[in-house]
Amino acid sequence: MSRKLLNVLLPAAIGALVIAAWYGVRFALSDDTKFLLPAPDRIVAALIEQWPDLGRAAYNTTEGALLGFGLSITVSFVLAILLSLSPWVRVGLYPYLMILQMTPVIVIAPILVLWVGAGLKSVTLITFLICFFPLVVNTTQGLVSTDRHLVELFAMWRASRWQQLWHLRVPAALPYFFTGLRIAATLAPIGALVGDYTAGSSAGDGGGLGFQTIIYSNQAKYPALFATAAVTCVLGFIFTAGVLALSWFALHQWHDSYERPDK
């Protein structure tokens, strides 16, 4: 059997097994506990039934996730370049980056709500905070890990600091940047959802998936809750796929993480 076919069949078979096991567990549950595990068909039904709400919520969460993700890429890129300039900048700033990373979002969220109000702005900022750290750490690492011999080559050409940055350090950091980006891409939808859960608002065009989670939870709509989880997963997959595509586009011709085109 070809490898490609196996790549599809194997996950599909596991999926089928999990669904079968799911029904099995449900069958074993007593009638008054069956609500704990809604049947997959009930979840699909809830998804369709709740789509006007869920679709809008997914749209809002995507908006916050994209804005926060974009903001974190921009800020982390600039900051990584700053950090790469001198070990002293790194020594001075790293402790504060660590503090920022270690402060739980749950604590920061109410402060952000106080500052910029509940809703999209807060959600964006929370997503930014969650995505930011892996990006800045990886990109900085890439910018300072440039091959010593290539640095000498540029010194030989008497290249300016900016030429060295633009023609050497930045492209050499791309594989590291994409490693950070892949991590950030899985975090962005989760960040937006958590942000929405803690600092969301139903004002304006309504809340996101986090806000929807609170509503379904309060209304004990358990199948809808599972459907919300599924939608979030799909969102995460889309983000990751987008980043993988970008990464392929930027690296496949030259980087060893992709198969050699010939030879």
Binding site: D147, H149, L150, E152, L153, F154, A155, M156, W157, R158, A159, Q163, H167, L168, P171, A172, L174, Q253, W254, H255, D256, R260, P261, D262, K263
Partner: protein, 256 residues
């Protein structure tokens, strides 16, 4: 030889920080068009000599002039070929050569012509669109050489450029290097560990001794150019290789 030397070391010393002497009052001069090989035990400072000429590192004492200037002012006349091909993996072969031209301030209008000329010279004229990883080790080294030649240097510094290649490839590239040189006689400083390579390429070999680095013996190689596969089979060539090997051994024991 009455022409002023193109590279001249006068009593040059070098030490890194508070470390031991790497070079001790080294004096040497190269005439324009000479092919000088530097050979010696590790720690004899042969790579340091290249780095000083290149201006990548400054002498601790003495004077060093390159074409009558400081190495820094002579930057436009120098090109360096490192032991590794040092190609930028994200650029195609053509773009790698053109980046050197761009960063050295060669007008953009001339890039394509210059690039094609040097790639043709190393017989890779049709691989301009390839990425470095699609090339063999020998091909990468040839691109690296082409990139250095594209800058039309007066002085070419080569730091064991063929050290990582297999014997056959190395011999072919030695012949190619001399053939290319026939067209534009730059002065070459060539660091190597291979006596055979040094004899084949140079008209002068400096055998260095270590701790601290100094010139142990200077050997003139009177074999006529052009040198070819035939040269390697000749008696005078074999005698010279034997002589230089013997001198290298005494230089090594002098260091111990």
């Amino acid at each position: 030889m009455s022409a002023p030397p193109i590279v001249e070391f006068r009593e040059v010393t070098k030490r890194f920080g508070a470390g031991p002497l790497v070079l001790d009052r080294l004096s040497l001069a190269a005439q324009p068009g000479e092919f000088v090989s530097l050979i010696g035990p590790s720690g004899c400072g042969k790579s340091t000599i290249l780095r000083l000429i290149a201006g990548l590192s400054a002498p601790s004492g003495g004077t060093l002039t390159v074409d009558g200037m400081t190495p820094d002012d002579a930057a436009a006349e120098l090109a360096f070929v490192f032991q590794e091909p040092t190609l930028l993996p994200w650029l195609t072969v053509a773009k790698n050569v053109e980046l050197a031209l761009k960063l050295r301030g060669v007008p953009a209008a001339d890039h394509a012509v210059l690039r094609q000329r040097v790639l043709d010279l190393v017989r890779l004229g049709d691989r301009g669109d390839a990425f470095p990883r699609q090339l063999s080790g020998g091909q990468k080294m040839r691109v690296s050489l082409a990139r250095a030649l594209a800058l039309t240097p007066k002085i070419l510094l080569l730091d064991e450029p063929f050290g990582a290649l297999d014997e056959m490839t190395r011999e072919h590239l030695n012949e190619e290097l001399l053939a290319i040189r026939g067209a534009a006689a730059w002065t070459a400083f060539f660091v190597t560990h291979s006596v055979a390579e040094a004899v084949f390429l140079s008209n002068r070999i400096l055998v260095l001794a270590a701790n601290p680095g100094r010139v142990h013996t200077e050997i003139r190689v009177a074999l006529p150019y052009p040198r070819t596969e035939e040269t390697r089979l000749s008696r005078p060539y074999h005698d010279l290789v034997a002589d230089v090997s013997r001198i290298l051994r005494t230089a090594e024991s002098a260091a111990a």
